[in-house]
């Protein structure tokens, strides 16, 4: 009898591990075991938060550990950590740009926006992006966020004239905006556009198409039967287009899942969204194989992401990650090779990774900014004409030198004239 009970409790313990992992059920399950597991998962999360904070404070920032923690279960957990870690994963200095934001809302910027060739398209898409904001949000708040969204996108586009806007880019921008706010979102979006999203922002969609075509070789390696079915159905890969270019922001309803995926994609290779897509298709193999082998049927089935995806997103992330390790892009043959040669996102990725290694922790950056701010506020006014931080630096130095020289000359003059008076 006692043994039976033990077995039972053992069983329930195992079951509760799973429950504990899925936080949403956590405390509601009564029973001492469930509560214990709840607290254990709490302490696990707390431990993880501490490790993330430690990695952030290391000098230079321990990006490798940050990446590992970001990929592992639950991602970055809180909004606050996301703000901090995303900037490190994208090599953005959160304390460098924010001081020239105040002057940005002037008319010259708006005029520049209006003249931009994508102004109308951006507005059209942002106006129709209601669904991406929380349903309970007040309409006025949403409208103001939508205005911010337009500014975020237009600033990146105006500063990088060779980047082309695509429908779906606003889905990426809104995700960043809702997590980190306008100023930081602009900086993060710019870095993403120059790296991970670079291939989508060419003049044509050619490279995007090639990147999408990766989907088949991955599935072919992992599940030949399924890939054969997909090929026979002539479904192509356009069903995964919005997955790739919006990082699933366009198709998922649950915001927590979207940001969890952003964690994952920011910490990994630019092609990871394709591997995640492959993992998703493979997971649904029974649905696919039991349906008709016909283009419209398969397209319809696959282009809609299952509503219960949030329940197994961690599993999919693990699968995608192991698919990537098992079949890395370099090992996939054929058309894929050609893409790899052409892709700017992939070419830049190695360089980008090296750059990430050399970042200072926020405490140092904040200190630096404070010093600089003290300096600039006391000695001189920042002219509103300064465009970029680099320029500001040169101008500041120049001004300081001039001022020193002037003061020096004045002092000499005063001294010499004083002498004369005496």
């Amino acid at each position: 009898m006692a043994r039976q009970e033990m077995l039972n409790s053992h069983y329930s313990y195992k079951k509760k591990v799973y429950v504990g992992k899925m936080k949403r059920q956590g405390n509601q399950n009564s029973g001492i075991m469930a509560q214990m597991m709840y607290y254990m998962s709490e302490s696990r999360l707390r431990g993880k938060i501490r490790r993330i904070t430690d990695a952030l404070e290391a000098d230079p920032v321990d990006v490798q550990t940050l990446k590992e923690l970001t990929i592992s279960a639950d991602g970055l957990i809180t909004v606050d950590l996301r703000c901090k870690v995303w900037t490190k994963l994208l090599n953005v200095n959160a304390f460098e740009f924010s001081r020239n934001q105040a002057k940005k809302k002037d008319n010259s910027e708006l005029k520049q926006f209006h003249e931009h060739k994508y102004w109308r398209q951006v507005n059209l898409d942002v106006d129709r992006s209601h669904r991406r904001f929380p349903a309970e949000m007040r309409a006025s708040r949403r409208r103001s966020l939508q205005e911010q969204l337009v500014r975020v996108i237009m600033r990146v586009l105006c500063q990088n004239q060779d980047l082309h806007y695509y429908q779906g880019y606003h889905d990426v921008a809104v995700t960043l905006l809702l997590v980190v706010g306008e100023d930081l979102a602009t900086a993060l979006l710019e870095q993403m556009s120059l790296h991970q999203l670079r291939d989508f922002m060419e003049g044509t969609m050619e490279k995007t198409t090639k990147m999408l075509a990766f989907l088949h070789p991955i599935i072919e390696e992992a599940d030949p039967e399924l890939d054969d079915f997909l090929i026979r159905s002539e479904v192509g890969q356009v069903f995964a287009l919005s997955w790739l270019i919006t990082w699933y922001g366009h198709v998922l309803k649950d915001f927590a899942t979207i940001v969890r995926l952003y964690d994952f994609f920011l910490a990994t290779h630019p092609l990871m969204p394709v591997y995640f897509g492959a993992a998703l298709v493979i997971r649904r193999r029974t649905d696919v194989l039991s349906g008709e082998c016909e283009m419209s049927f398969v397209h319809h089935l696959l282009s809609r992401v299952p509503d219960d995806l949030p329940d197994y997103v961690e599993e999919l992330i693990t699968t995608a990650h192991s698919l990537f390790c098992k079949y890395p892009p370099e090992k996939l043959a054929g058309a894929v090779e050609r893409y790899l040669k052409e892709s700017m996102a992939v070419a830049k990725h190695k360089q980008f990774l090296r750059e990430l290694e050399d970042q200072r922790p926020d405490s140092v950056l904040r200190q630096r900014r404070k010093q600089l701010a003290l300096y600039t506020n006391n000695e001189l006014e920042v002219s509103p004409n300064f465009q970029s931080p680099n320029q500001t630096n040169t101008y500041t130095k120049l001004a300081v030198w001039t001022l020193t020289a002037t003061v020096g000359t004045m002092a000499l003059y005063v001294l010499s004239s004083a002498k004369r008076w005496i």
Partner: protein, 246 residues
């Protein structure tokens, strides 16, 4: 969104005809609204930018024939149509060119759309012309109208297209939308019956049908039509008026 998965036993006896209708036009002219309106009867309160392609489906019965209309809704932004949407021009039964009566740009772009369609769309079905329709949307914003009916009709005549001006938003116009699609389906069924049936149903199609059946588990049978031949009878509907019902 909408995909009719109800398996009706009665449909087993009759074969179903599938027609693929593609809607193209500039971004924001209301392509998704039209597809949504026709497929569900409702005006979508909120639509989003369409990325890639998406389709809606509705089953109809016309004179005892079961037909399924697949309405393919496409992304409007230029970059998508050049590399993605083109893939979906193949094997279509009809094309709807759509513009916004309050935006001249969307009307002027129609010639580019027509050209592009002409360029890509005829590689397989060059045996007969695919019916083209032209629809101007947003008639509920009549006071903001920029593209006049005359201007639009001239353009439509020039390209042998029947032309309608509608509002997907107005509930009263649901009938117009229905009738547009009904007329179109009548025409498609008729042309397929006359042009296609005798040779294909006795020889090629019977085998194709068999193979489709064996693979289908959902109980829906469809004939596969890779080629759709249609008589060039655009002269008939050239004279149809705006908002005309069937």
């Amino acid at each position: 969104m909408f995909y009719d998965t109800v398996d009706e036993e009665s449909e087993r006896e009759v074969t179903e005809q599938v027609f693929k209708i593609i809607i193209i036009g500039d971004s924001g002219v209301g392509k998704t609204c039209l597809a949504h309106r026709f497929a569900t009867g409702k005006f979508p309160e909120r639509t989003e930018a369409t990325i890639g392609v998406d389709f809606w489906e509705r089953k109809l019965q016309l004179n005892g024939t079961n037909i399924r209309l697949q309405i393919w809704d496409t992304a409007g932004q230029e970059r998508f149509r050049k590399s993605m949407v083109v893939h979906y021009y193949r094997n279509v039964s009809a094309v709807i060119f759509m513009y916004d009566i309050t935006r001249e740009g969307s009307f002027r772009a129609l010639s580019t759309w027509l050209q592009e369609y002409g360029h890509y769309g005829f590689d397989e079905s060059d045996t007969g012309e695919v019916p083209k329709l032209m629809i101007g949307n947003k008639c509920d914003l009549i006071h903001e109208r920029i593209v006049s009916s005359n201007q639009a009709r001239k353009f439509a005549d020039l390209h042998n297209m029947p032309m309608w001006e509608i509002s997907t938003k107005n509930d009263e116009e649901l009938e117009t939308i229905e009738s547009i699609f009904l007329t179109l389906s009548h025409k498609l069924v008729k042309s397929r019956t006359f042009m296609d049936r005798p040779p294909r149903y006795t020889t090629v199609d019977s085998s194709t049908e068999q193979s489709t059946r064996s693979r289908t588990k959902s109980g829906k049978f469809r004939t596969s039509q890779k080629k759709i031949k249609l008589k060039n009878d655009s002269g008939n509907h050239k004279k149809k008026n705006c908002c005309e019902s069937s």
